[in-house]
């Protein structure tokens, strides 16, 4: 059986399979080091948790050709300015609650999750909160009693009561505010943020 051409021989493709896999794995690992460095909180793409002490805008950037977050003037969350440690603790409580309440099986976060309820990537900046002065309070009230404060926009889909406490609700709001500051390469496309008074 020497009539098999070299390019279709078993041994050639065995070597190809091994080499291609190894090279790709090495490239992925190298890229992973760089990516993880860039997405660690406190970097340019993913701001430090204390960003919750500041205003966040989402604006068109000429150079990049899409909208990017801009960190603005100080704007304390719930009237408190947090140091890095307490900001991280608050966002951590929010993230833990988001996981423990299984939000991701109705909503998407950064576009990943389920499609039964709206995306939360820019929830903090959604014009549905009408005015920035009432936003924090409205968000907390909604989370505490989503049944009574249902916002179904005519679909009849209501968020269930998940037994969220006030502290957890504040944590979720902090988490959402922080998430809205992540540089998502322009996602979601063409987002129209809430009007905010720009003190810049």
């Amino acid at each position: 059986m020497n009539d098999v051409p070299w390019w279709s021989s078993e041994s050639l493709w065995r070597k190809m399979a091994i080499w291609v896999t190894a090279v790709m794995a090495v490239v992925l690992i190298l890229l992973t080091f760089d990516t993880v460095r860039q997405i660690t909180a406190g970097g340019e793409r993913v701001p430090a948790y204390s960003v919750i002490n500041q205003k966040i805008y989402f604006e068109y950037n000429d150079e990049r050709g899409y909208q990017v977050p801009r960190i603005g003037e100080p704007a304390a969350l719930f009237g408190n300015t947090h140091d890095e440690e307490s900001a991280e603790a608050l966002v951590t409580l929010g993230k833990l609650t988001v996981q423990a309440k299984n939000c991701m099986n109705c909503h998407t976060l950064l576009g990943n999750g389920a499609y039964y309820a709206p995306d939360l990537t820019k929830a903090w900046l959604d014009p549905g909160w009408v005015h920035e002065d009432q936003r924090e309070q409205m968000m907390v009230e909604f989370l505490l009693d989503p049944e009574k404060n249902a916002r179904t926009f005519g679909t009849g889909r209501r968020m269930p009561n998940l037994g969220i406490t006030e502290a957890e609700a504040r944590g979720i709001v902090a988490f959402l505010k922080w998430m809205s500051s992540i540089d998502t390469n322009g996602f979601p496309r063409g987002f129209t943020p809430l009007d905010q008074e720009d003190g810049a």
């Binding site: 490239v27 990516t35 109705c106 950064l110 995306d119 926009f153």
Partner: protein, 484 residues
Amino acid sequence: MNSATTNVAAAGPLTAGQRVAMHYFVAAMVLFFAQILFGMISGMQYLMPDLFYNVLDFNVTRMVHINAMVVWLLFGFMGSVYWLVEDEAGTDLVSSKLAIINFWILTTAVALVVVVYLFVQVGPGELKSIWLINEGREYIEAPRWADIGIVFCVLVFFYNIAATFMKGRWSGISGVLVLDLVALAGLYLAGMYFTPNISVDQHWWWWVIHLWVEATWEVLVGCIMAWGLIKTLGASRKVVTTWLYIEVALMFGSGILGLGHHYFWIGTPEYWLTIGGFFSALEPIPLVAMVVHAVYDSGRHGFKSSNHPALAWLIAHAFGNFFGAGVWGFMHTLPQINLYTHGTQWTSSHGHLAFFGAYATIIIAMIYIALQRVRGNVWMSAGLADNGWKWKWSLGLLNGGVLGMTMALLVAGYDQSFIERALEGSTWSGYFLAQQSKWFIQGMHWRMVFGAMMSMGIVLLFWDMLTISRTETRPVQELSPAPG
């Protein structure tokens, strides 16, 4: 070498490995049923939002729907590997007792997790909820204690399989299979820690999800396919093994960096737009190779197979994998379109066809191969009792149902992308406006119609599995090597 396994084709009691496999197959089918049941409830909740409101909400029904799927596919894979390991290694399973104990531990853990999902559902925002109730991360929601249990059980499984090959003989198929299982088990560890940083969270989460379903699972089914074609068609091992190596090279060559198509919008650097777009656009190529390989081999053998239902499901796998994972994936994989389709019903359209086409189909094929042996190595080729209407109709209903559902969700997804993203600026009011558009709602209705079709298909499939060839007396069709 034990005589029971030197010729597994001989009728008689099942071998130890085959008995273990049957446990996994039965559990897989029960979970398949649960997947469809909870999928139907989730689908209904789009049309009747008050259905089970505050009792069994969408986040729970949908979680059970997708978790049942992940677990039944894993059970199906483990069953398939237990089924083929003795034949491929030419020796007995190293420890069938360990395999059975392992099966019951895993099954009990799965049952416990589901009970907690259904009756506890959510917990307070503390680490203990993540350890005990649910991790709240799509597809890998299983609480941490179960994660550790899964890793333990997979290691036991791995030991049993690798040790069996070491005791018996190695082949190209088993070599690829064992290395792939190492990667598959290791990757799960990437999904087992908590971080408040959602970008870091999703970055590692995709290591599990993507490198499972678009890399290691694909190679695993490549191995099963290779073995399946040898068994049902009598395909040449040399040809099949060469194809398997080609598929591994193409699959890992495109799929490992194809991971980048999940790194477009989660905070990860901009270079992923180029890398992810380029390599994921190549991902359909190995799937084309798999179709060519399956159809070419079948044609070469004149479609004369020892097991018609299994071969039909293997071919359904080749095409389902190509269309579901390949074509449907490619359609929205470039960042220029994904910016609009990411996180819409578009993704669920792709998910339904890809998971069913790539994975459900091949496990069903393996179960038919197993059933032939269970029924005593009888005839399962052309001219079955009642003309084999049950397997043919269930094949048609399940594949037709999933295709119809895929098209319905695709229409809804196009509509949603266009209205919510392109026109309405991706706000919440834009989201809800899209959800109320006529085409979107029509899509949701048609999805239910085709879901009902699938439900009929699964009932018929179970009926067929319980009855096929029970009264058959003809021996299995002899296979001949390919002509020329």
